[in-house]
Subunit: 324 residues, 2 copies
């Protein structure tokens, strides 16, 4: 059977797993070797509206993927809350997905394969663990700073998912009680200071109140992007520097506290903002006076690897793990 599979998919992966990354704008499927993280083949589709159309699109991309017939397992990463049992409660970034859907049950019946559904941030953390910056590290938090701030926690080489599938939510940890309003409605959450959406909203408020307009001008008609932040810093724009210092302070407090609570020696940090700003931003976090817990010397903050299609790879690895 194993050699048949190899012949069938033609790519020399033994026991391949299909990895699917469901994003807000597109769906991506690849054939993955869960041992090495190597991915081959690549089928993309636009993400339609509503869970029914999304499930259909996932079935289509998996069936179109060359070699998927030789894979008995499919891992799907989704941008939403995954309850134990593969029920996806809501996906805020997918239009019309606002009530629970049994993604695991639906897909496994339609695909005739075993299906494992995971949160996309957790997939990213697992990819870092197996084939990225946290290879060989048994205990770490992976933090991804993009539009929002997400986190995945690995303890004793196992992903911590929590009883309700919500563990790792470092973005909604409070770093400043009563502080900036978060997208979730909470106040003073880390995400409101370090996420791009929080930086964007605060920049516009401050420019309105008379602060240096460069960052907002760079964004033009759109939202502030990581490259605008990078540009603002290079041009020594005062508002950009201020907002990034506040982001670094908020991350320093939040990450330091988690390291203290869980006795973590390593935190992996990545995501669009960090990818753009690099080690300089990590140094700023480490040097912050707001470092939480017992200090920055107890924990090493390391840059995430920029793994190609990390979500696909992580979803496939989680699915392979689940079958063993």
């Amino acid at each position: 059977v194993a050699s048949g599979r190899e012949a069938g998919n033609g790519v020399g992966i033994q026991d391949p797993v299909v990895g699917v990354d469901l994003g807000g704008t597109k769906i991506l499927a690849r054939l993955v070797d869960p041992q090495t993280g190597r991915a081959v083949g690549r089928i993309k589709a636009n993400t339609p509206s509503g869970p029914a159309a999304v499930l259909e699109a996932i079935v289509d991309v998996v069936n179109e993927l060359e070699g998927s017939d030789g894979a008995s397992t499919v891992g799907v990463g989704v941008p939403g809350l995954v309850r134990p049992g593969g029920v996806v409660d809501r996906c805020p970034n997918i239009a019309g997905w606002d009530s629970p859907v049994s993604v695991k049950a639906e897909l496994s019946s339609r695909l005739g394969k075993s299906v494992v559904v995971s949160n996309d941030v957790n997939c990213g953390a697992v990819a870092e663990h197996r084939v990225g910056a946290a290879k060989g590290i048994a205990n770490f938090l992976a933090v991804f700073v993009g539009t929002g701030v997400g986190g995945g926690l690995v303890l004793n080489n196992e992903l911590v998912e929590g009883g309700r599938g919500m563990a790792g939510e470092i973005g909604h940890v409070t770093v400043s009680p009563g502080g900036r309003l978060c997208n979730c409605g909470g106040k003073g959450h880390l995400e409101a200071y370090a996420g791009r959406a929080g930086i964007d909203a605060e920049a516009r408020r401050r420019v309105e109140a008379g602060a240096s307009p460069l960052l907002v001008e760079l964004a033009g008609d759109g939202k502030i992007k990581s490259r605008h932040i990078e540009r603002g810093l290079k041009d020594r724009d005062s508002l950009t520097s201020e907002l990034l210092a506040e982001a670094a302070d908020a991350l320093a407090q939040g990450l330091g506290n988690v390291a203290c609570l869980l006795d973590l020696e390593h935190i992996v940090i990545g995501g669009g903002v960090v990818d753009k700003l690099g080690q300089g931003f990590v140094d700023q976090i480490n040097d912050s006076d707001s470092f939480g817990g017992v200090g920055s010397e107890m924990v090493k903050i390391i840059l995430a690897h920029r793994i190609d299609d990390a979500g696909v790879v992580g979803a496939a690895i989680l699915a392979a793990d689940d079958g063993h």
Copy 2:
């Protein structure tokens, strides 16, 4: 052999384990049924100075304990940092214990029994898990508020110890960057607001600056105790109310954040201060505007059971677990 043991210890416990609680002032040993937490026999000694004398005293109490000859395993809870392998780095509350000692190796060789050494707060958390308020709960944090604030974390029914034995240190999580000085030298840690030592120090500062002196007067020549805090609250003393509100706010922020990060549905809270103030204090934490993370409705804070000799019981349970 089992019936021989039963006869030998005369108390009807099958496979008994010796539990030892090493405290700053006394050492306590009992014979424990790790299945039920039932403890029999009771030998006490004063805690001497220096690790050599402490180890000798532990050997003595274990040997004096009736039925200990029928136990092949000893669990020892210590008030200090326990490294993996049973090396105790330092015990701040025991005079002369300021460098690492191989407690596990030393005691097992002298007692001829298998010895498991654990941090005393973790022992308390395990006791709550098996025979206390967290029975049947797979994921929780146990927080003990006394002179300081300690914590023990259980995820997936397993104690989380951390790579360096320091997990659960909620007392040294920062709740107010740049805030009150903590005993550890850090600033704004939870313990500085909620621990009795922190409340004591702050009360004296504020009385010096003109605040209501009742709480400090109640303490007389000594430190402020939990019953003085209870008295101050009953007498509607303004400083006592202020300091307790700040303690509740700090706990609300710290506990809320941990619940959010780890998706905890339960937090168990105990220790001298909480035992004295009871459910009213828990309500104050729940109602605090400073509740961290995604809000108090996501987590239930429950009062710890006041388990007799919880440290002894927890140490014995951890030792029994370790042997299986």
